[in-house]
Amino acid sequence: MGTTDLKNYSFNEKIDTRTGFGVGLLEVGKINKNIVALCADLTGSLKMGDFKKNFPERFFQIGIAEANMMGIAAGLTIGGKIPFTGTFANFSTGRVYDQIRQSIAYSNKNVKICASHAGITLGEDGATHQILEDLGLMKMLPGMTVINTCDYEQTRKATHAVANFLGPVYLRFGRPKVPNFSTEIPFEIGKGIKLQNGNDVTIVATGHLVWESLEACKKLNKKGISCDIINIHTIKPLDEDIILESVKKTGAIITCEEHNYIGGLGESIAGFLSKRKPTIQSYVATNDTFGESGTPRLLMKKYGLDSETIVEKTIKLIEKKNQLSSK
């Protein structure tokens, strides 16, 4: 046990990840004229307005018909288009799972499924809109690349990466304004990012939980606990090496995601570690419940998705690790 010198991640502003998508989409649209965008009556929420304004003939307003949108996107790839679909995460996945499965994944179409308002931080609209299963839905589809970005800049970069990548992608982002700290951090699909170095525990985080884990790390450091912090933005394919290397050092792992603990990133990691190196693990995730209305901040607290929860669970996890090793 011991503290370490922490890297300092600062930010100039809080800004939503979906704006990172909107800006990125406009940028890639300027670069590649084969990029087209589709939206199901949520252009403003998805921040697709600028793309629409700049490329009206490459923007397709589908109406409130998400299944049709996925099929049309699949068809658009025939003839060389690169379609980006935009709607809320629930309507991007659960509503259209079979359409994605057959017309996109099994057909191997180059469609980018871009999903905003994922998770509980969607806030006041409540449970029908707060999908906490979308990562699980998309990770089960053979051939699907699954990405969950953590801030504006990572989302913008991911949008570029996704545009240049050949194959179906699920790109998940959110609604609330969050610290934009990763301006200097490069983004590569499938490559985890080591944000802090430590020895006592591995903290793997994705999406909005990345900032929370950095906050938790600071608090834990003060308590004499040093953490390896890894940002896994690509849920699939999973960067197993960066995780394995870390847990070999720390012997304990805590996974943090805005998702049901059932079926999410945490289970993916438990699944592969159980084959390679079984490791004591703790889950910062929703506890198999639906969400509810409320402000993002209050909901993150109530559903155990904030830095305080990470701190608590980390302390307990380390206790458990020590018990196990002293047996």
Binding site: D41, L42, I64, D125, G126, E292
Partner: protein, 305 residues
């Protein structure tokens, strides 16, 4: 102040006015008097949490008032099964503010509970749900396009139970772009589900703009008729007398081997001048200034929550 005490219903053990003889309020004036109060509730709820959907809610205020205070035959005590009483399903769940206001004003729960709308630990979720046990709600909605199927299921259940009451439902016009509706429309038309009266909030607006611009519904009456529905059209769907009249006629057309649709031409944002005739207030809350202005246009007739 008379109306909110007409019926007190709850599953939670509030004081119930027992043996209350069910009274259909025929007095159009009194229904009209309630409308500005419902509008105030909607505006104040949405303003209070700076989120929610005032536009569609305001456009349907008259419809909800007529439905709950004039049309529907329901019991004093709320039960999920709703046997031998008329049922209502809200498919376009985002207009929950008007639903909650009218449920509360109709005695399903305390009016004061409106203040919890969209706040954490509330029964008044952003979209109506059974999950928190709010009396009056029998299905969760919010994800569009699912309510008509559910209403049909309730119709079939009533038929099996020899229950003669009627099932009502409400749907957005933009919502009809969802394919599940057309599965349900085909089913109800072909299988002669004739204890169903489904109203469309035909305000010609949705989130991204007018329905005409987003994805035109074309001739909706012709569409529904081609699916074997009886269709009534109400040109001014914000007029209480019109709504009463069409609902009375529609009721008489039930049990005639066809489902019934009412195309209710409404004005989104009705009753607040700067919110009317635009999609801009579909899902946006007024700020303090705007609220004041909006409230000044609607008299407090039954007491704010």
């Amino acid at each position: 102040m008379f109306i909110n005490f007409l019926k007190k219903k709850s599953t939670q053990g509030y004081n119930l006015i027992q043996n209350f003889t069910f009274t259909i309020v025929k007095n159009i004036k009194k229904l009209e008097e309630l409308v500005p109060q419902v509008r105030r509730d909607i505006l104040r709820m949405v303003h209070g949490v700076n989120s929610g959907h005032p536009g569609g809610s305001l456009g349907c205020a008259e419809f909800f008032v007529v439905l709950f205070f004039h049309v529907m035959n329901s019991k004093n005590q709320f039960s999920m099964d709703g046997e031998h009483e008329d049922l209502f399903f809200l498919s376009n769940g985002h207009i929950s503010p008007v639903y909650y206001s009218v449920l509360a004003r109709n005695g399903f729960f305390e009016i004061s509970e409106l203040s919890t709308f969209r706040k954490i630990n509330s029964r008044l979720q952003g979209h109506p749900t059974t999950h928190e046990g709010l009396p009056g709600v029998r299905i969760s909605s919010g994800s569009l396009g699912q309510g008509l199927s559910v209403a049909i299921g309730a119709c079939l259940s009533k038929k099996l139970n020899g229950d003669k009451s009627i099932v009502y439902s409400l749907h957005g016009d933009g919502e009809l772009q969802e394919g599940q509706n057309w599965e349900a429309i085909m089913y109800a038309g072909s299988k002669k589900v004739d204890n169903l009266i489904s109203t469309i909030d035909y305000n010609k607006q949705q989130i991204d703009g007018s329905t005409e611009d987003v994805l035109s519904l074309g001739n909706l009456k012709k569409k529904l008729e081609s699916f074997n529905w009886i269709v009534f059209e109400v040109d001014d769907g914000n007029n209480i007398s019109n709504i009463i009249e069409v609902m009375d006629i529609a009721k008489k057309e039930t049990k005639k081997q066809k489902p019934i649709a009412i195309l209710l031409h409404t004005i989104m944002g009705n009753g607040v001048d700067f919110m009317m005739h635009t999609h801009a207030w579909h899902g946006k809350a007024p700020n303090d200034e705007e609220l004041k202005n909006a409230l000044s246009q609607n008299k407090e007739t039954h007491g704010d929550y």
